[in-house]
């Protein structure tokens, strides 16, 4: 690696430094746009007691769900979980903690975390169980709760194309939480389907500027579909 070149050649190198007890922020929504090979690398490393911040926790046997198999996750911060039986079991057995967070608040917590904003007020969740213990303030006659932002030791991100400098473009709705996750990691690792030379991507089309990216790796992806819905005509 030299200068702005972020490319690493192995998944070991991509996730080097991840240790027990760290917080990992992961992009993806359902199984769409998830950094599936970086997750697989975390499984291979066997690190434990992780706090994982991600909208969902994959499914049994795929995505973040595979990190449950060896009980590597201690706490999930998500808006919707329970697409996997193992998650349910570990939650009921008290082996796994979950902090349910409204989807928009979760996205904003990552965005704010990456943007150096420690907390923000939102009307989302006021008067509900998730407001318990949180500061409330009134602005223009409406009540808002104070939500703290999130940063992680690592952020793991799935992009479509990137140049060697780590400028990333996402494809379709595989974008989802990835751009915010990319900003919120002390070490941000991005895996992509194609890496090109600097100058080959149109600067106006970049979703994640390379300044946020520490390591970049070329991967191949299964892209499993969670709800395969088709029309017949």
């Amino acid at each position: 690696m030299s200068g702005f070149d972020k490319v690493v050649s192995s998944y070991e190198e991509a996730m080097a430094g991840l240790e027990d007890g760290m917080t990992v922020i992961a992009g993806g929504f359902g199984l769409c746009g998830i950094p599936e090979n970086l997750i697989a690398q975390i499984k291979r490393m066997g690190v434990k007691d992780l706090t994982v911040v991600s909208n969902n926790c994959g499914v049994d046997g795929f995505g973040l769900g595979i990190l449950l198999e060896d009980k590597q996750i201690r706490k999930m911060v998500s808006s919707y979980v329970g697409e996997n039986a193992l998650f349910e079991k570990q939650l009921l057995d008290g082996e796994l903690e979950v902090e349910l967070t409204p989807q928009g608040t979760l996205a904003e917590k990552m965005r704010a975390g990456g943007a150096g904003i420690p907390a923000f007020f939102t009307a989302t969740g006021f008067g509900t169980p998730i407001a318990e213990g949180k500061d409330v303030r009134e602005f223009n006659g409406r009540s808002y709760i104070l939500e703290e932002s999130i940063t992680g030791d690592f952020a793991i991100v799935k992009g479509w194309k990137a140049d060697r400098y780590g400028n990333v473009i996402y494809r379709h709705t595989a974008q989802n939480f990835n751009p915010m996750a990319a900003t919120a990691g002390k070490i941000t690792v991005v895996e992509v389907e194609e890496i090109v030379e600097p100058g080959e991507l149109d600067p106006t089309q970049i979703h994640t500027p390379g300044i946020y990216v520490d390591r970049l790796i070329l991967g191949s992806f299964e892209k499993r579909i969670e709800q395969r819905t088709v029309r017949t005509v």
Partner: protein, 218 residues
């Protein structure tokens, strides 16, 4: 007769206006897309980060990178845009979506809604529902009027943990179209063949019945 799922969707569709940006929740709300009046253009927002959601894809069009908030494979219409989930919820929270349609377990006369958590049952999460009800001004809740055991879901005060406080003004059940104003439900329309008496008996919260309650026409 209580409204069918399709009739509920048809009735909601009458609230659409040309040029509306609309977010449809999972379940019955999704069906509203099938009843957009001829000649009217609406754009569907999906909170994972898509504005201008199209039909389900054909087998050939399926793309794992293009899904909706229900994690179903979808397509885009001409003029669609795709963005991050932060941008998507900025639209929602910022009040830019014209109409939101979603389901609920309970609503009450204060406009409170409970739709995500039943204590004692496994809690899967609220997804985007709390953001949607907090951010939208124009929300239609679709739900059944009473449980299978006949217990009203239109209450004086929600018994389940809330999804949002004081944010619901319009409710469409299988029996009636109601509005919530000044601490009461107001019966605006009834399902074909459903009597005012039945609706009164199945509404636990304060209900105001105007002199004339028209029957919905389909």
């Amino acid at each position: 007769m209580a409204l069918s799922r399709e009739q509920i969707a048809m009735r909601v569709a009458r609230e659409l206006k040309d040029g509306f940006y609309v977010n449809l929740g999972i379940g019955i709300p999704t069906l509203v897309a099938n009843y957009v009046p001829e000649g009217m253009e609406v754009m569907l927002q999906s909170e994972n980060g898509l504005l201008g959601m199209g039909a389900f894809p054909t087998e050939d069009e399926i793309d794992a990178d293009l899904i909706n908030a229900g994690k179903q494979t979808v397509t885009t219409i001409a003029g669609a845009s795709i963005f991050s989930s932060a941008e998507s919820f900025a639209m929602i929270r910022g009040g830019h979506v014209d109409l939101t349609v979603l389901g609920a377990f309970e609503v009450d006369v204060q406009g409170n809604i409970a739709s995500w958590m039943i204590p004692g049952k496994l809690i899967k999460g609220m997804g985007g529902a709390m953001d949607l009800v907090a951010g939208a001004d124009n929300i239609i809740v679709t739900m059944t009027h009473a449980s299978k055991h006949g217990e009203s879901k239109l209450l004086e005060r929600c018994s389940l943990p809330l999804t949002g406080a004081g944010c619901i003004k319009k409710v469409l059940t299988d029996l009636a179209w109601l509005e919530i104003e000044d601490g009461a439900f107001i019966l605006r329309e009834r399902a074909p063949g459903v009597s005012v008496e039945e609706i009164v008996s199945k509404t636990a919260g304060k209900l105001i019945v105007p002199d004339h309650v028209p029957e919905m026409q389909f």
